[in-house]
């Protein structure tokens, strides 16, 4: 019969319409600005720089190695290396970025900078409501705008941050242990040298 298919189709429409009142599966939309769905933990928007402690300048993890600048597919990162050095989290003197800029209007949120960074210094932020009426300055973020504390990272990507923190703590402990061992060895050496000298002195006296 002509029209049977259309009636069948309309039955499906009715099923979906009435079903949307009782089944969550059939009505998945939310009224966005008022209602918000939680973001996925892996969500990524634009990169940010992580710093430890409360001092942004001193705690910045970035050592200006420029790997991300080279690997960035759309070339949106520009870094200027510092002339002096500052101690990093294990106390080793490292360079730091005198200038670190990301042009977020060029950035394509691909996360490759995060993947290639050997220092866990650059991570992806999840803030997405970033529209601005300033085309140039507003979308060209400097180091001050990019830097966020580690607590922020722990908040937005808890699982990932916990892994990174554990790894860094281990590294720090290792370095500290190595340094302690070194210091102990040096002390032992010095002590041994001292005993030796005393011994020689003693033998000379005899």
């Amino acid at each position: 019969m002509l029209g049977e298919g259309i009636v069948k189709g309309l039955a499906e429409t009715a099923r979906n319409f009435f079903g949307s009142y009782v089944e969550k599966d059939r009505l998945t939309t939310v009224q966005f600005p008022e209602e918000r769905l939680p973001q996925a933990e892996a969500a990524r928007v634009f990169p940010f720089l992580v710093y430890d402690t409360d001092d942004m300048e001193a705690g910045l993890r970035c050592v200006a190695c420029k790997i991300c600048e080279v690997e960035c597919p759309p070339q949106c990162i520009s870094i200027e290396k510092s002339t002096g050095k500052k101690p990093d989290f294990v106390g080793k003197p490292q360079f730091y970025p005198a200038k670190f800029e990301i042009d977020v209007s060029v950035c394509m949120s691909c996360q490759i900078c995060v993947e290639v960074c050997p220092f866990e210094a650059i991570k992806m932020d999840t803030a997405f409501e970033l529209s601005t009426d300033d085309r140039f300055g507003g979308l060209h973020w400097a180091k001050e705008q990019l830097s966020k504390p580690n607590e922020h990272y722990q908040k937005i990507h808890p699982t990932e941050a916990a892994e990174v923190d554990a790894e860094r703590a281990e590294k720090k402990a290792k370095t500290a242990a190595a340094e302690a061992a070194k210091a102990a060895a040096e002390a032992a050496k010095a002590a041994a040298a001292k005993t030796e000298t005393t011994e020689t002195e003693g033998s000379a006296k005899q």
Partner: protein, 384 residues
């Protein structure tokens, strides 16, 4: 535009003083039915199409040249933006060709994960393509919204896995970037379990609809011979009755381990192409069920694979997969440096588009829209 009668203006437009019958119109680039920025120069005699010339390139972004001046790793996020509906399969095709070029092995778990995400991509691509096709026919809203509702559930899974809904940037040569958690796999399992119900409803909604049948049956017929000669691939080729599916032919990845059938059409018209997508989704669900059951534990990245500063030996490789739209291939030539010497994409939607004129000749303007909709093009891939 000069004043004067319509007949004079037609002569002016076509330059054909003899007939005065042919009207040349330009459909697109900003036309709601062209799925993006695509233009067709159509010559009409009355309502009949006598000539159709596709014009593309409005979305050209220099993809191949950019990739030739970037490292092998840096090209992956650009491949997401080829066919922006199916970034996962684009990633896979590129990763496959680099793996061939550099001789990188892929762990078994990564192969399974790739199959899972690729089949999910196929589900969402085919569902939304059917929605778009119906939209082109005037079913404004309902089928497209139902399709997008399901698509969004799949994209949510992609986001929780890779961090982005559409620009996933998920696969790497040598595996995949993130190991999916057990919770994620359970979510996929739940979604795959619910999907056949949607497919049944979607089919009941559309398949027997008289308007759909009269608009699509016998429209845009592509003969078997022409389909083969023009290099058409994917659901469009199979709708013309040619049994050719790269998942079966090449058996790339771990596709050889799965039981699934390749649906074939008979008439090669728009209705067959529509039906092909519905049936392929059912087969994809079968593959997903098997892949989710068989996924082994283990690493997802080859520990020897080098992402940064990869320098494959001089040589060439062509990796191809069955993307939702057809054969997607990447041809790479390496000269031993960190950048490919030549990088070439074989885009299925562009090659499938080449027979548009043959399918539309003698039909009306309204049929062009339907025929184009059934080709399944994404202009990001056509123009690159």
């Amino acid at each position: 535009m000069s004043a004067g009668s319509v007949a004079e203006r037609i002569v002016e437009l076509t330059g054909d003083a003899d007939s005065g019958q042919v009207l040349e119109i330009s459909m697109g680039p900003h036309h709601p039915s062209t799925h993006g920025v695509f233009r067709m120069n159509v010559e009409l005699e009355g309502e009949q199409v006598v000539k159709l010339k596709p014009v593309f390139g409005y979305l050209h972004r220099n993809h191949e040249k950019i990739a030739e001046n970037a490292s092998y790793l840096a090209a992956i996020p650009y491949t997401d933006r080829l066919d922006y509906m199916c970034s996962m399969t684009n990633n896979w095709a590129y990763a496959l060709s680099v793996e061939k070029l550099a001789g990188i092995a892929v762990p078994e778990r990564a192969e399974y994960v790739r199959v899972i995400v690729a089949e999910l991509t196929r589900l969402q691509n085919h569902a939304s393509l059917i929605g778009f096709l119906m939209q082109d026919m005037g079913a404004s809203g309902t089928p497209l919204m139902y399709a997008f509702r399901e698509r969004e559930k799949i994209l949510d899974l992609f986001e929780s896995l890779s961090g982005a809904r559409m620009m996933c940037n998920y696969m790497r040569f040598g595996g995949v970037r993130v190991d999916p958690s057990a919770a994620w796999l359970a979510e996929v399992k739940a979604l795959v379990g619910r999907f056949p119900r949607f497919l049944g409803e979607f089919e009941a909604l559309l398949a027997e609809n008289e308007i759909l049948m009269s608009r699509t049956q016998g429209v845009g017929i592509l003969s078997r011979e022409l389909a083969v000669n023009a290099g058409i691939t994917g659901p469009m080729l199979r709708a013309s009755g040619v049994n050719y599916d790269i998942r079966k032919v090449d058996g790339y990845g771990v596709y050889e381990r799965f039981q699934f059938r390749v649906p074939l059409g008979e008439h090669g018209d728009v209705y067959d192409r529509y039906m092909m997508r519905v049936l392929e989704m059912r087969e994809s669900v079968k593959i997903l069920e098997q892949a989710l059951k068989g996924i082994p534990e283990g690493p997802v990245m080859d520990p020897k694979a080098r992402l940064r500063g990869l320098r494959p030996k001089a040589g060439e490789a062509y990796g191809r997969i069955e993307s939702p739209k057809g054969e997607l291939g990447f041809f790479l030539i390496s000269n031993g440096t960190t950048e490919p010497y030549r990088y070439r994409v074989r885009p299925p939607s562009m090659i499938n588009l080449t027979v548009l004129e043959d399918m539309c000749l003698g039909r009306s303007v309204a049929d062009i829209v339907v025929t184009l909709g059934s080709v399944d093009i994404v202009l990001g891939e056509v123009d690159r």
